[in-house]
């Protein structure tokens, strides 16, 4: 099959628009991807009938999401950081945070790109100025946006992380793919979800995995 190669004009126009969208800074594209995966988690919670709201650490509703651009503590002095609150009809609530640190088994702190944990645990951490522990995490997600293939060291690093923060209901999510990473991660318990981008059929698979992961919390805390 012939390859469609963009002309110089098409390329220049596309690059110009991509620049104006801020994509020259790779961290901005990483942020966008985390935001996108965040929205998939919201969709999963809604499948369980959750009422989703966005609040800051003082429980004030947020119309704009304020996320950590670098790993931070749940009890940040900057109280404006937003988290999503999943209010389930017949189970205890969950909160979803972006870029918070959790205490690993070795007692070292590790960043979770997306951390979903019980509201009561998160509230207690904020009150006592503590970091959540790995065992407190209902769901932990590592997000990797790549324009190329996801590299093997990323999978190795993720597996190392799951030794520290447990490996059940832990996800490595990427827009890219990699047979090698898939093979390595799938050999163990964590979930590897590749090709996560709009209109990809794999998004539904990720959403189903998240729905199942939330179900285990719902079953445990059903009222």
């Amino acid at each position: 099959m012939p390859i469609t190669v963009p002309t110089d004009t098409q390329l220049r126009t596309a690059i110009n628009l991509a620049t104006r969208l801020g994509y020259t800074k790779s961290y901005k594209t990483d942020d966008l991807f985390e935001h996108y995966v965040f929205s998939i988690c919201v969709a999963a919670a809604k499948q369980h009938g959750a009422r989703v709201s966005y609040v800051d650490a003082n429980d004030n509703p947020s119309t704009k999401l304020v996320f950590r651009a670098s790993p931070g503590i749940i009890n940040s002095p900057n109280r404006t950081y937003t988290h999503a609150l999943f209010d389930f009809p017949n189970a205890s609530n969950l909160e979803m945070h972006v870029g918070i640190k959790v205490v690993g088994l070795s007692k070292e702190l590790h960043e979770c790109d997306l951390a979903i944990l019980p509201q009561e645990v998160a509230a207690r951490c904020r009150e006592l100025g503590k970091n959540p522990e790995a065992k407190d995490l209902t769901i932990g997600i590592e997000c990797k946006l790549r324009t190329g293939k996801l590299e093997l060291p990323a999978a190795r690093s993720f597996l190392g992380l799951t030794k520290e923060i447990h490996n059940t209901r832990r996800f490595l999510v990427t827009n890219s793919d990699s047979e090698t990473c898939m093979k390595v991660v799938s050999h163990y318990e964590p979930s590897f979800n590749s090709n996560i981008f709009p209109r990809s059929s794999d998004v539904k698979i990720l959403e189903s995995c998240l729905v199942a992961a939330m179900k285990s919390h719902i079953d445990k805390t059903r009222t």
């Binding site: 469609t4 126009t13 596309a14 991509a18 969208l21 991807f33 931070g72 324009t147 827009n175």
Partner: protein, 124 residues
């Protein structure tokens, strides 16, 4: 005279490098290297041909011009509030707030515009 795969690869990679998308070219080069490393374990001809390399670069371009704008648009369509990313480390440089706001206003129209610039690969 028509452009061959190697020339097309160079032309696109040069444009990306010159426009601040060197990180994309680097990721593409890493992908090619990793793929060749994997092939070297199975075959005595590990090197990708120029058309294989070009496909990887075009796929990176697609991430930039199709996937990312589609994420921006989907977030808007799904009613997920816009996000502001704040770095509260002392070393962090404050971003110009006015500049950021005006950039956000343009996001939607730019994301819509960029998707149609480069034709989609026919085999998708």
């Amino acid at each position: 005279m028509s452009e061959n795969s190697e020339e097309a690869f160079q032309r696109i990679a040069n444009q990306l490098n010159e426009s601040g998308f060197d990180w994309v070219v680097l990721e593409v080069e890493n992908s090619i290297k990793e793929l060749e490393d994997a092939r070297s374990q199975k075959s005595d001809k590990p090197h990708l041909d120029s058309s294989g390399k070009l496909k990887i670069l075009l796929s990176a371009l697609e991430t930039l011009t199709k996937q990312l704008p589609a994420m921006t648009l989907e977030l808007m369509e799904e009613g997920i509030p816009e996000a502001e990313w704040i770095d509260d480390r002392p070393s962090a440089v404050e971003e110009d707030d006015e500049g950021r706001k005006s950039e956000l206003k343009k996001q939607r129209s730019l994301a819509l515009e960029i998707r149609d610039v480069i034709p989609q690969e026919t085999d998708e």
